[in-house]
Symmetry: D2
Subunit: 271 residues, 4 copies
Amino acid sequence: MRLLFLGDVVGRVGRQVVLQHLPRLREAWALDFVVVNGENAAGGFGITEAIHEEFLEAGADAVTLGNHSFDQREALVFIERAPRLIRPANYPPGTPGRGAALIEARNGAQVLVVNMMGRVFMDPLDDPFAAIDRELDAAPLGMVADAVIVDFHAETTSEKQAFGHWCDGRASLVIGTHTHVPTSDHRILPGGTAFMTDVGMCGSYEGVIGMDKEEPLRRFTRRIGASRFEPATGEGTLSGLAVETDGTGHAVRVAPVRLGGVLEDVVPAFW
Amino acid sequence: MRLLFLGDVVGRVGRQVVLQHLPRLREAWALDFVVVNGENAAGGFGITEAIHEEFLEAGADAVTLGNHSFDQREALVFIERAPRLIRPANYPPGTPGRGAALIEARNGAQVLVVNMMGRVFMDPLDDPFAAIDRELDAAPLGMVADAVIVDFHAETTSEKQAFGHWCDGRASLVIGTHTHVPTSDHRILPGGTAFMTDVGMCGSYEGVIGMDKEEPLRRFTRRIGASRFEPATGEGTLSGLAVETDGTGHAVRVAPVRLGGVLEDVVPAFW
Amino acid sequence: MRLLFLGDVVGRVGRQVVLQHLPRLREAWALDFVVVNGENAAGGFGITEAIHEEFLEAGADAVTLGNHSFDQREALVFIERAPRLIRPANYPPGTPGRGAALIEARNGAQVLVVNMMGRVFMDPLDDPFAAIDRELDAAPLGMVADAVIVDFHAETTSEKQAFGHWCDGRASLVIGTHTHVPTSDHRILPGGTAFMTDVGMCGSYEGVIGMDKEEPLRRFTRRIGASRFEPATGEGTLSGLAVETDGTGHAVRVAPVRLGGVLEDVVPAFW
Amino acid sequence: MRLLFLGDVVGRVGRQVVLQHLPRLREAWALDFVVVNGENAAGGFGITEAIHEEFLEAGADAVTLGNHSFDQREALVFIERAPRLIRPANYPPGTPGRGAALIEARNGAQVLVVNMMGRVFMDPLDDPFAAIDRELDAAPLGMVADAVIVDFHAETTSEKQAFGHWCDGRASLVIGTHTHVPTSDHRILPGGTAFMTDVGMCGSYEGVIGMDKEEPLRRFTRRIGASRFEPATGEGTLSGLAVETDGTGHAVRVAPVRLGGVLEDVVPAFW
Ligand SMILES: [Fe+2]
Ligand SMILES: [Fe+2]
Ligand SMILES: [Fe+2]
Ligand SMILES: [Fe+2]
Ligand SMILES: [Fe+2]
Ligand SMILES: [Fe+2]
Ligand SMILES: [Fe+2]
Ligand SMILES: [Fe+2]
């Protein structure tokens, strides 16, 4: 299968770059399954129902979230009728929505999508290592699921890499989100799981992690804010990871995708 | 000038990859100035005098540090007689060593090297934004310094990117260290400062941020450690950034360097 | 001199209990100098000009602040014309207002009031230990200042106790604020400085640190908030510390003050 | 029933003050059940089997722990044969020992003792609010348990007070530990649960939270340590809380206990 994961979409610039590229890439690369992290899609904070539907129409099969899942309060409601919208699985029991879903790809394959949050320098949710075991046991790769995509939304490189090793062999892809900067360490772990510490964001790289740089700079230097954070303007960059899996659901090829904006363009050589 | 910065050297594997490649690259690329971050060189924690000298002999002009600066207690002593060894400048007044130094390159140019630590999710040192202003004012780029290299040792992508913008135009290079994963966002900021959120480490990428994965995994899953952290074995990767500056000391070309190990090899196309 | 320090005033309940008791106590105990921490006076977050004046009219000689200093934006402006309003001294240079002031008591004595913030689990401000040295050197106890009152606004008991020892002999009183719970360890340190890890708050102890308990409980159990924090209702408690100093400005007597609400009433036996 | 809870015993000074007072108080006050927090009993870090037995012989019916539970590695082993030694219940499944135990008092009553850790500014363990529900449901007060004592080992006053309210009516006592400073807010919550934000420590209050003050001061001011933390010397203080329950297991009287050292002596008036 051909999988594409797109990192945290930040504000209008991020949404535009997804809408601009995704329909074409879906076609050109004959993608089987696309996941988009949408936690920052609505002005940098959370997601609305309209934006969620826009992503699905543009070619996303699933949308994942993170610590900003419910910044737009409407998400607490519409997530219940949005079976392809996945919030972190280690929120407390009773949290609206779902943390994992088995979703049918257009080719009929079953893809397990899991969203999970790290705990180091993050909100103290339930143990993600124990929680991923439960999710992976419920829909084992190669038995129930034809592919397994895990979005691990976490701050530190250490927790993310440990999580990748923990899942190695049991997922097609473990991909980090949240830091809004793509890392250069995409690879296939020994057990066959594609891994990348952070996929980076879809948005403008001219600011500070996708936001206009003035307010962050003010807070860092004066310790007192003056206004809200606003998404950075400037040309947007699409940032993602392309993964090809074999019949067992394990990764056989992995390559970054970056298109537009101030970063260097890169696309998979194998598609 | 041709500058090379190599990220956090982790343990024996990291040192070996530096000793293996640096003398040759220095020659082949006609490098004018090389900086190596050595905070994890001694078994993953700190640096010894012997290792510091090994780096200088292999072709480093300066060695920077970070939160592990003084994990090897001898560093508190020998740093006083090691003018090319730079610890974070925002440690309290009275800390042994220096946080910045104007160092003569082999071509006679004066290069200001500054090491600074971020504060988000790190030790609460003095304000790095105020401290860098003092250092940059003391040896302005293009007036006193022919090149200015700032190693910003920090955890979060937001503080690092804000710091890059803060210094833009006043440094040849602001480069992040500490997370041990190279980012893909190397670029030249509008004012002429080369920037990369994190340069990654020199060491084995088969573990967890350069350390053997068993103990980190144990602590993440059981919350109780069983032994000390040990550097990961496996083939090492050299990870760095190449920067070319013009007569004003601003960057005109920038490209990542990664050689060996499980990451994809990449070298500058322009040298 | 007879000094009274009242802890973080929280919302309307806190203000009422101060206005109810302070004028009477000022008279009855022949107080020479009164300091009130007002960082939570306006609905739990910050302070307004009207509230600040209310405190002065009720008998406060100085008002200190903390991490909520500027939650009410008007404080950034009126603090400049409020010489008795003191914000943490270790905010960056250029922050509106002042971190210390030498204020004339009604008996003509000069009292140095300093507000300082800790850094452990708090915002990364400048080093409070270095900053307090500068303040204490500028108006030494027994030479320039007849009394020195230091409000150390900090989270951890360790940083607060270390700060007390650091100042011992150089201040009449080092008193902790911020946790909103009075501690039972008021005492006079060997050098003559009265100390208490935290003075507690003026407000309702029926909630969670002065706020209505519903929203904190929701966030702790569901990790997703539903509304803003509101001050707790219920009968208020005045919480403070009484200190008597000798001719050298050192403390000779110290006793807690707690009046009203769900805590046990206690007043100094020596006045 | 007459219950006594003694806070974190720190080092030799702390142990001595427990051994000195506890046998006598047990007799004089006709205590039915005594719990001692022993997480810092062995040189400030953890507990040994010999010390644990010493506490039982001195009159403790149960010993609770905290974030230092396993600093002495032998505790990972002997805790399995020590049914009265309770470590935090929200450690991951598989952790040696137990997080709760129903222990028979000398008068034949059944007492549920639970140890739980908070998560704010602490290690990210499982949700303590969900975990305490499970423990309290398994041995309900007034049905299975004649008394329920919950040691909530946490950093912040907000999490501790929220936890007290959460358990109100379902426990005889919810008592905070970990900060090593007694608070003055002991009281009986509306539902009948005795509560105190922190019970303080048994040890010397002349240092910094029970440790000699030199090393903490060095680290706060220089940011670089020079030696290990050592318990403070000086006269010790016994610090605890006395609670009397009625036939339903709810608290009817509560009073602090502090004996010796630099704090003011206080004992219950009702025994
Ligand atoms: Fe995020
Ligand atoms: Fe994000
Ligand atoms: Fe490092
Ligand atoms: Fe580091
Ligand atoms: Fe406060
Ligand atoms: Fe505060
Ligand atoms: Fe503790
Ligand atoms: Fe403790």
